[in-house]
Protein backbone atom coordinates (compact mmCIF):
# COMPACT_ATOMS: atom_id res chain seq x y z
CA UNK A 1 0.00 0.00 0.00
CA UNK A 2 1.39 3.34 -1.12
CA UNK A 3 0.18 5.35 1.86
CA UNK A 4 2.10 3.20 4.28
CA UNK A 5 5.27 3.80 2.31
CA UNK A 6 4.63 7.53 2.36
CA UNK A 7 4.17 7.50 6.11
CA UNK A 8 7.29 5.48 6.68
CA UNK A 9 9.29 7.94 4.58
CA UNK A 10 7.77 10.95 6.35
CA UNK A 11 8.37 9.38 9.73
CA UNK A 12 11.98 8.68 8.89
CA UNK A 13 12.42 12.27 7.74
CA UNK A 14 11.08 13.59 11.03
CA UNK A 15 13.28 11.23 13.00
CA UNK A 16 16.40 12.05 11.05
CA UNK A 17 15.72 15.76 11.52
CA UNK A 18 15.46 15.26 15.27
CA UNK A 19 18.63 13.20 15.43
CA UNK A 20 20.49 15.80 13.37
CA UNK A 21 19.44 18.54 15.81
CA UNK A 22 20.64 16.50 18.75
CA UNK A 23 24.11 15.68 17.52
CA UNK A 24 24.98 18.95 15.81
CA UNK A 25 27.34 21.23 17.74
CA UNK A 26 27.63 24.68 16.12
CA UNK A 27 31.38 25.13 16.51
CA UNK A 28 31.66 28.46 14.68
CA UNK A 29 28.77 29.99 16.61
CA UNK A 30 30.15 28.67 19.88
CA UNK A 31 33.46 30.33 19.11
CA UNK A 32 31.73 33.62 18.37
CA UNK A 33 29.84 33.36 21.66
CA UNK A 34 33.06 32.52 23.53
CA UNK A 35 34.86 35.51 22.01
CA UNK A 36 32.08 37.83 23.04
CA UNK A 37 32.11 36.62 26.63
CA UNK A 38 35.91 36.61 26.91
CA UNK A 39 36.10 40.16 25.54
CA UNK A 40 33.70 41.26 28.24
CA UNK A 41 35.34 39.35 31.08
CA UNK A 42 38.84 40.50 30.15
CA UNK A 43 37.55 43.87 28.99
CA UNK A 44 39.17 43.68 25.59
CA UNK A 45 38.06 45.97 22.81
CA UNK A 46 36.85 44.17 19.70
CA UNK A 47 39.65 43.41 17.30
CA UNK A 48 42.22 45.29 19.34
CA UNK A 49 45.49 43.62 20.20
CA UNK A 50 45.43 43.26 23.96
CA UNK A 51 48.90 44.60 24.66
CA UNK A 52 47.76 47.30 27.06
CA UNK A 53 45.66 46.28 30.01
CA UNK A 54 42.57 48.27 30.61
CA UNK A 55 41.47 48.62 34.18
CA UNK A 56 38.17 50.33 34.86
CA UNK A 57 37.98 53.96 35.95
CA UNK A 58 41.12 55.17 37.74
CA UNK A 59 43.78 54.20 35.24
CA UNK A 60 44.07 55.56 31.74
CA UNK A 61 45.15 53.26 28.90
CA UNK A 62 48.44 55.17 28.56
CA UNK A 63 49.77 54.13 31.95
CA UNK A 64 51.00 50.60 32.37
CA UNK A 65 49.13 49.35 35.41
CA UNK A 66 51.39 46.44 36.21
CA UNK A 67 55.07 45.81 35.84
CA UNK A 68 55.78 42.70 33.90
CA UNK A 69 58.49 40.41 35.07
Amino acid sequence: MHMKKLFVISGLLVLSACVTINIYFPAAEAQKAADKIIDEVWQLKNGQKPDTEKTPAEKTPETQPAESK
Binding site: H2, M3, L6, F7, S10, G11, L13, V14, A17, C18, T20, I21, N22, Y24, F25, P26, A27, E29, A30, Q31, K32, A33, A34, D35, K36, I37, I38, D39, E40, V41, W42, Q43, L44, P50, D51, E53, T55, P56, P65, A66, S68, K69
Partner: protein
Protein backbone atom coordinates in the same frame (compact mmCIF):
# COMPACT_ATOMS: atom_id res chain seq x y z
CA UNK B 1 7.60 14.40 -5.67
CA UNK B 2 4.36 16.37 -5.21
CA UNK B 3 2.86 14.68 -8.30
CA UNK B 4 3.57 11.28 -6.87
CA UNK B 5 2.08 12.22 -3.53
CA UNK B 6 -1.04 13.67 -5.18
CA UNK B 7 -1.48 10.63 -7.42
CA UNK B 8 -1.13 8.29 -4.49
CA UNK B 9 -3.45 10.31 -2.34
CA UNK B 10 -6.20 10.61 -4.95
CA UNK B 11 -6.98 6.96 -4.35
CA UNK B 12 -6.88 7.26 -0.58
CA UNK B 13 -8.84 8.62 2.31
CA UNK B 14 -8.64 12.42 2.58
CA UNK B 15 -7.79 12.20 6.29
CA UNK B 16 -4.62 10.36 5.41
CA UNK B 17 -3.67 13.31 3.23
CA UNK B 18 -4.05 15.66 6.16
CA UNK B 19 -1.86 13.42 8.26
CA UNK B 20 0.80 13.35 5.59
CA UNK B 21 0.82 17.14 5.41
CA UNK B 22 1.04 17.37 9.16
CA UNK B 23 4.08 15.12 9.12
CA UNK B 24 5.64 17.20 6.37
CA UNK B 25 4.97 20.37 8.38
CA UNK B 26 6.62 18.87 11.45
CA UNK B 27 9.65 17.95 9.35
CA UNK B 28 9.94 21.47 7.97
CA UNK B 29 9.53 22.91 11.45
CA UNK B 30 12.32 20.71 12.75
CA UNK B 31 14.59 21.76 9.89
CA UNK B 32 13.76 25.43 10.53
CA UNK B 33 14.73 24.97 14.16
CA UNK B 34 17.99 23.42 13.07
CA UNK B 35 18.71 26.44 10.87
CA UNK B 36 17.89 28.77 13.74
CA UNK B 37 20.11 26.85 16.14
CA UNK B 38 22.97 27.34 13.72
CA UNK B 39 22.41 31.10 13.48
CA UNK B 40 23.54 32.08 16.96
CA UNK B 41 24.15 30.66 20.38
CA UNK B 42 22.11 31.91 23.28
CA UNK B 43 24.32 33.68 25.82
CA UNK B 44 21.95 36.30 27.18
CA UNK B 45 20.29 34.49 30.05
CA UNK B 46 20.30 35.92 33.59
CA UNK B 47 22.48 33.04 34.81
CA UNK B 48 25.12 33.58 32.13
CA UNK B 49 25.12 37.35 32.63
CA UNK B 50 25.58 36.91 36.39
CA UNK B 51 28.55 34.56 35.90
CA UNK B 52 30.07 36.91 33.36
CA UNK B 53 29.81 39.87 35.73
CA UNK B 54 31.28 37.88 38.59
CA UNK B 55 34.26 36.84 36.46
CA UNK B 56 34.72 40.36 35.14
CA UNK B 57 34.86 41.73 38.69
CA UNK B 58 37.38 39.06 39.73
CA UNK B 59 39.60 39.71 36.73
CA UNK B 60 41.13 42.84 38.29
CA UNK B 61 42.45 40.64 41.11
CA UNK B 62 43.65 37.88 38.80
CA UNK B 63 45.35 40.14 36.28
CA UNK B 64 48.57 40.73 38.29
CA UNK B 65 48.88 36.97 38.80
CA UNK B 66 48.50 36.26 35.08
CA UNK B 67 51.14 38.90 34.41
CA UNK B 68 53.59 37.53 36.99
CA UNK B 69 53.07 33.94 35.90
CA UNK B 70 51.73 32.87 39.27
CA UNK B 71 48.52 31.74 37.55
CA UNK B 72 48.21 30.19 34.10
CA UNK B 73 45.49 29.06 31.72
CA UNK B 74 44.85 25.34 31.52
CA UNK B 75 43.89 23.50 28.34
CA UNK B 76 40.50 22.53 29.72
CA UNK B 77 39.10 26.03 29.99
CA UNK B 78 40.12 26.67 33.59
CA UNK B 79 43.03 28.38 35.36
CA UNK B 80 45.59 26.96 37.76
CA UNK B 81 48.20 28.13 40.24
CA UNK B 82 51.51 27.72 38.46
CA UNK B 83 54.37 29.28 40.41
CA UNK B 84 53.85 31.31 43.55
CA UNK B 85 57.50 32.00 44.35
CA UNK B 86 57.06 35.56 43.08
CA UNK B 87 54.00 36.08 45.25
CA UNK B 88 54.43 37.41 48.80
CA UNK B 89 53.77 34.70 51.36
CA UNK B 90 50.71 36.37 52.86
CA UNK B 91 49.00 36.57 49.44
CA UNK B 92 49.50 32.92 48.52
CA UNK B 93 46.46 31.62 50.36
CA UNK B 94 44.37 34.25 48.62
CA UNK B 95 45.46 33.02 45.21
CA UNK B 96 44.16 29.53 45.83
CA UNK B 97 40.70 30.70 46.76
CA UNK B 98 40.72 33.21 43.90
CA UNK B 99 41.55 30.43 41.43
CA UNK B 100 38.96 28.09 42.97
CA UNK B 101 36.21 30.73 42.70
CA UNK B 102 37.17 31.53 39.11
CA UNK B 103 37.13 27.86 38.14
CA UNK B 104 33.75 27.35 39.77
CA UNK B 105 32.37 30.27 37.75
CA UNK B 106 33.94 29.03 34.55
CA UNK B 107 32.58 25.50 34.92
CA UNK B 108 29.15 26.89 35.74
CA UNK B 109 29.38 29.16 32.69
CA UNK B 110 30.05 26.28 30.30
CA UNK B 111 27.22 24.31 31.82
CA UNK B 112 24.81 27.24 31.61
CA UNK B 113 25.64 27.98 27.98
CA UNK B 114 25.00 24.36 27.02
CA UNK B 115 21.76 24.40 28.97
CA UNK B 116 20.61 27.75 27.59
CA UNK B 117 20.91 26.30 24.09
CA UNK B 118 18.85 23.26 24.94
CA UNK B 119 21.78 20.84 24.87
CA UNK B 120 23.28 20.12 28.29
CA UNK B 121 25.39 17.45 26.60
CA UNK B 122 27.30 20.21 24.77
CA UNK B 123 29.01 21.26 28.00
CA UNK B 124 32.27 19.53 27.12
CA UNK B 125 32.39 21.02 23.64
CA UNK B 126 31.59 24.48 24.97
CA UNK B 127 34.42 24.06 27.48
CA UNK B 128 36.88 23.01 24.77
CA UNK B 129 35.84 25.95 22.59
CA UNK B 130 36.45 28.34 25.46
CA UNK B 131 39.75 26.67 26.37
CA UNK B 132 41.12 27.46 22.92
CA UNK B 133 39.78 31.00 22.86
CA UNK B 134 41.04 31.96 26.34
CA UNK B 135 44.54 30.95 25.28
CA UNK B 136 44.28 32.63 21.87
CA UNK B 137 43.22 35.88 23.49
CA UNK B 138 45.72 35.72 26.36
CA UNK B 139 48.15 38.62 26.58
CA UNK B 140 51.85 38.38 25.91
CA UNK B 141 53.76 37.03 28.92
CA UNK B 142 50.86 34.98 30.25
CA UNK B 143 51.32 31.26 30.77
CA UNK B 144 49.16 28.50 29.42
CA UNK B 145 49.19 24.74 29.45
CA UNK B 146 50.64 23.15 26.36
CA UNK B 147 50.41 19.41 26.76
CA UNK B 148 51.77 18.66 30.20
CA UNK B 149 54.07 21.71 30.26
CA UNK B 150 53.53 25.41 30.73
CA UNK B 151 54.21 27.67 27.79
CA UNK B 152 54.53 31.43 27.67
CA UNK B 153 52.79 33.63 25.17
Amino acid sequence: MMKIIAKTLSLQDIRMQHLAWALLAVTLFALAQLAQAAANMEIDTPAITALKNSMQARHAQLLPHYNSGAVGLTNDGLIAVRDTTAVPLKERGGINSLVASENADRSALYKEIAKANGHPEWEGEVRQTFAGRWIDKAQGGWHYRSGSDWAKK
